[in-house]
C-alpha cells in the first residue's frame, strides 16, 4: 500500500558544507541571542529594583537608629519643685506643672547649666550667628565696610539688635524711596532721594555703597531714569539692608522656652513619677541623655539647612541653630544607639516613639495564630484526609479551602469587622475591638487555608504502605494516624505553618479594619494569661503604617524604615528556620 511517489517537490539541494554557516542560520542564532538578552535584562531589571528597595530601606533605617541625644546633667532643683521654698515632699512634686515646672524649669535650666559648664556662652553664640549672617547679607551688596562696627557693637552687647535694625532699616527705606522715585520717572525727586541715600550711607560708613549710589545719581536725566532704576536695583542694597534689619530684629533672649525647644523633655510625667518615688534625689543631679527635639534632628541630618525662613525647622530660628552647632562641637550632642526605640510606646512625637507594643502585639498574635491555625488546620486536614467519608460534601469543602487561600487578605479584615459588628449588637464588641485576640483570630482564619493545604500535601506524601502496615498489626485508624503518619508528616506541616505565620506577620490591611490602634493608646501588654490578649494592641506592620504617615521626615523616612528592618529580620529568621527544617527533615520516599 504505497503512495505514488511524486517527483521531488523540493528543489534538489546543492551540497552545503557543514563547515560553512549559512547566513540564514546566523540570523536565527541572532534571534536566539536576542531572546537570551531579553531574559537577562528582565532579571537584571527586577533584581536591580530589589536592590534599590533594600538599599532605600537600609540606608535610611539603619542611620535612624542612632538618635541625636544631648548629654546633660539634670539637676532636680528644689527651688523649682517647691516655689515657696519649703520642703519638697512627694505631694509637692506631684503637683508641679509638667510644662512650666519640668519642661521649662528643670530640663531647661539643666540644659542651660550644662552648656555653661561646657564653656558655651549661649548669648554670645546666638549673637555671633546673627551677626555673621547679617554680615553675609551686607557683604553681598558691598556694604561690608560699614557693617563691621555695627556688628561688633552688637556682638559685644553694647548695642541692641533693635537699634541696629533701625539703622539699617532707615537706610533701606531711603534706598526704597530712591527706587520708587526712579521708577516713577521723576528726575528731581529721584536726585533728591539719591542724594539723601548717599549722605546716609556715607554717614554710616558704607563708603563703597555710597560711592556706587553717587555714581548712579551722576548725570541722571530724564532719559536715563530707567537705566538708573535698573542699576539701583542691581546693587541689591534695598534687599540687603531691609533683610538685615529684619534679621537684627529677631534675636530675643535665649530663655528657658528656647532651651526647652532644643530638647525633648522626655517622659516628663515619668520623670515626675520617678521623683515622687525617689524624693531623696531632690537637690541632686544626675547625668542623663535626652533626645533632641525632632525639629533639631531635621537640621542636624541636613534635611533643613536653616538658610532661610522656608528652610527653618518649625519653632526654630538662627539662634537655636547656632546653639545647636555649639553643642555639637562641644560633643554635648552626639548620636547614640536608640535602644528605647524597641521598647517605647508609639507616639506622634518622633523623639520617643517606639515599636515596643507593636513587637509584643505581633508576637502575641503569632502565638494565637500558631495555636489556632496549627491545631485547627491540622485537625481539619487530618479529618478530611483520613476520616471523612468521600462524598460531594467533602469535595466541596476541599475546593473551598483551596479558594480561600487565594482570597485577598482584606476580605478577612472585613470578616473581622463584620464579626465585631455582630458582637457589638450583642454588647461585647467594644471590648474585643483592636485586641491581640481579635487580631490573632482574623489572622488565623487567613492562615488556616494555607496550613490545611500544606498539611494535606504533607500527609499525602507519606506512602500509604506505612498506614497499611500499622493497620495490619491491629492499630486503629486513629492510632495509625497519630502514631505513624502524623510524625512522618510533621516536618512538612511545620514548614508550612512557619511560612503561613511569616505571611501573617506581614499583613496590615485586615488588622487595620478590626481597629488595631490607628492612634496612640496601645501600651506594653500584660502577659497573655492575665488578659494581655484582651488589651488594645498594635502590630509591626500597622505601626510601620503609622510611622510612615508621621508629619516629621526623620520619622517617616527614618524610623519607619528602621521598623521595617526589624520586621524584615523577623521574617527572614522565620523563613530561614522553615528552610532549615525542610532541608534537615526532607525525606525522599
Amino acid at each position: 500500500m504505497t503512495d505514488m511517489t511524486t517527483p521531488s517537490a523540493a528543489p534538489a539541494r546543492k551540497f552545503q558544507s557543514l563547515y560553512e554557516r549559512s547566513e540564514q542560520i546566523e540570523m536565527r542564532h541572532k534571534k536566539g541571542t536576542a531572546l537570551r538578552i531579553l531574559g537577562i535584562s528582565a532579571i537584571t531589571l527586577v533584581l536591580f529594583f530589589l536592590c534599590v528597595l533594600l538599599w532605600s530601606i537600609f540606608s535610611r533605617g539603619i542611620p535612624a537608629l542612632w538618635q541625636y541625644q544631648a548629654e546633660i546633667s539634670i539637676f532636680y532643683d528644689p527651688a523649682i519643685l517647691n516655689e515657696d521654698g519649703g520642703a519638697v515632699t512627694p505631694e509637692e512634686i506631684g503637683s508641679v506643672s509638667l510644662r512650666s515646672g519640668f519642661e521649662r524649669g528643670i530640663y531647661a535650666n539643666s540644659l542651660n547649666q550644662s552648656l555653661r559648664e561646657a564653656g558655651i556662652d549661649t548669648a554670645a553664640v546666638v549673637a555671633d550667628r546673627y551677626a555673621a549672617r547679617t554680615a553675609e547679607l551686607l557683604a553681598a551688596a558691598n556694604l561690608a565696610d560699614g557693617a563691621g562696627s555695627y556688628l561688633d557693637d552688637f556682638r559685644s552687647g553694647s548695642v541692641e539688635g533693635g537699634d541696629i535694625a533701625r539703622v539699617f532699616g532707615q537706610s533701606g527705606s531711603a534706598v526704597r524711596a530712591a527706587q520708587t522715585a526712579l521708577d516713577g520717572g521723576d528726575v528731581d525727586a529721584a536726585l533728591e532721594a539719591l542724594a539723601a541715600v548717599v549722605t546716609d550711607l556715607e554717614e554710616k560708613g558704607f563708603l563703597t555703597a555710597s560711592a556706587q549710589v553717587a555714581a548712579i545719581a551722576e548725570g541722571l536725566s530724564a532719559e536715563t531714569t530707567v537705566q538708573a532704576s535698573t542699576a539701583l536695583a542691581a546693587t541689591g542694597l534695598q534687599t540687603a539692608l531691609l533683610d538685615s534689619a529684619t534679621l537684627m530684629r529677631e534675636p530675643a533672649e535665649f530663655d528657658e522656652v528656647s532651651f526647652a525647644t532644643m530638647i525633648y523633655a522626655a517622659n516628663r510625667r515619668d520623670t515626675r513619677d520617678y521623683l515622687v518615688e525617689n524624693p531623696d534625689l531632690v537637690g541632686e543631679a544626675e547625668t542623663v541623655r535626652v533626645p533632641v527635639s525632632i525639629s533639631l534632628t531635621r537640621y542636624l541630618t541636613g534635611e533643613l539647612q536653616g538658610a532661610d525662613k522656608s528652610d527653618m525647622p518649625p519653632g526654630f530660628d538662627l539662634g537655636h541653630l547656632a546653639v545647636a552647632d555649639a553643642m555639637v562641637e562641644a560633643d554635648i550632642i552626639n548620636r547614640h544607639f536608640h535602644w528605647r526605640f524597641f521598647t517605647n510606646l508609639y507616639s506622634q512625637s518622633g523623639e520617643i516613639t517606639g515599636i515596643g507594643p507593636a513587637l509584643m502585639g505581633s508576637l502575641y498574635m503569632m502565638l494565637v495564630v500558631l495555636v489556632f491555625s496549627l491545631i485547627f488546620g491540622v485537625a481539619a486536614s487530618i479529618y478530611l484526609e483520613e476520616f471523612a467519608p468521600k462524598n460531594k460534601l467533602t469535595d466541596f469543602i476541599e475546593i473551598n479551602i483551596a479558594n480561600l487561600a487565594a482570597v485577598p487578605s482584606i476580605v478577612f479584615g472585613i470578616l473581622g469587622a463584620a464579626i465585631l459588628f455582630a458582637l457589638t449588637d450583642l454588647g461585647i464588641g467594644s471590648s474585643i475591638r483592636g485586641t491581640a485576640l481579635m487580631g490573632g483570630i482574623v489572622l488565623s482564619l487567613m492562615t488556616l487555608p494555607t496550613i490545611v493545604i500544606a498539611t494535606r500535601s504533607a500527609l499525602k506524601a507519606v506512602p500509604p504502605s506505612i498506614r497499611e502496615a500499622a493497620l495490619g498489626v491491629g492499630a486503629s485508624k486513629v492510632q495509625a494516624m497519630f502514631h505513624h503518619t502524623l510524625p512522618l508528616a510533621a516536618p512538612g506541616i511545620l514548614t508550612g505553618t512557619i511560612i503561613g505565620i511569616a505571611q501573617a506577620l506581614g499583613e496590615t490591611a485586615p488588622l487595620l479594619l478590626i481597629g488595631l490602634s490607628v492612634s496612640t493608646g496601645a501600651d506594653i501588654l500584660s502577659s497573655p494569661l492575665s488578659g494581655g490578649l484582651l488589651e488594645q494592641t498594635q502590630s509591626l506592620p500597622t505601626v510601620v503604617y503609622l510611622l510612615a504617615q508621621n508629619e516629621d521626615a526623620p520619622v517617616r523616612q527614618g524610623l519607619a524604615q528602621s521598623a521595617i528592618i526589624v520586621m524584615l529580620i523577623l521574617l527572614f529568621l522565620l523563613n530561614f528556620v522553615a528552610i532549615m527544617l525542610r532541608r534537615r527533615f526532607e525525606r525522599r520516599w
Partner: protein
Amino acid sequence: MSTTDIKIEARDVDVFYADTHAIKSVNVDVQDKTVTAFIGPSGCGKSTFLRCLNRMNDTIDICRVEGSIKLDAEDIYDRRVDPVQLRAKVGMVFQKPNPFPKSIYDNVAYGPRIHGLARTKSDLDEIVETSLKRAALWDEVKDRLDGPGTGLSGGQQQRLCIARAVATSPEVLLMDEPCSALDPIATAQVEELIDELRSRFSVVIVTHSMQQAARVSQKTAFFHLGELVEFGETTQIFTNPVDSRTESYITGRIG
C-alpha cells in the same frame, strides 16, 4: 550517489556520561541509500550512539563525545559545525510519537518554515503534501490538515512524525525504535515506509526486535555493553554471525 558511498563514517567513538564510559571505541559506516539497523540488548548503548549522529547528546550537559564522526567526509564535531545546520541534514524520529500540539499541517510545515525552504505558500503546501505522501499518511488526513496533530491514532502520529522529519529533505534519517509504541498493523505500515524511504535517504534504525531488523535493513550492527561487537550485511549477521556474543544474542541466550 551510488549505494556504496559511505554517508556517515564513525571512527573510535567514545561516549562518557560524567565518569561512566558508555560507548567504547565504536567504528561503523552508514552507507547512502541503505537501511542500517542497530540491534542489541537494552542498555547496550545503541540509542546513545544514534543520538551522537545528530549531536542530540549535546543537550545533555554531562555527556562527552570523543573520536570522529564524519558526514560526507566532514567531521560533525568540528567546532565550526553548527548542530542546527547538522540536524537539517540528519533528521530524527523518536520512540514515542511526539507531534506538536499544532495542526497537522503546521506540524509538517514546522521544519521547512524554520529553515526557510519554501518561498511561497504554495511551495510549502507542496512540501507538506509530498512529505505526508512519503509517510503514507496523505490519504487519511488530506481533508483535515487543520485538525490537531495530537488527535490522530498512535500509528498515524508516528507517521506524522516521520512526515515531519522528511519534510526538511534530510540526507540521513535516524529512527530510534520507531515502532515500539505501535500496534502490529501500524508497525507493518511504518516498516513498509522505511523500505521506500531508503530510495531517497540513508536510514539508521535502532530496534530491539531482531525480526524487524532482518525485515527492513540491509546492514546490521550489533552492540553489546557499549561496544560494537559485529557489523556487516544483515543476512550474514543473522545466518552466520562471526562473534559468539552475536550468536548468543541472535539465538536468544542473552538480551
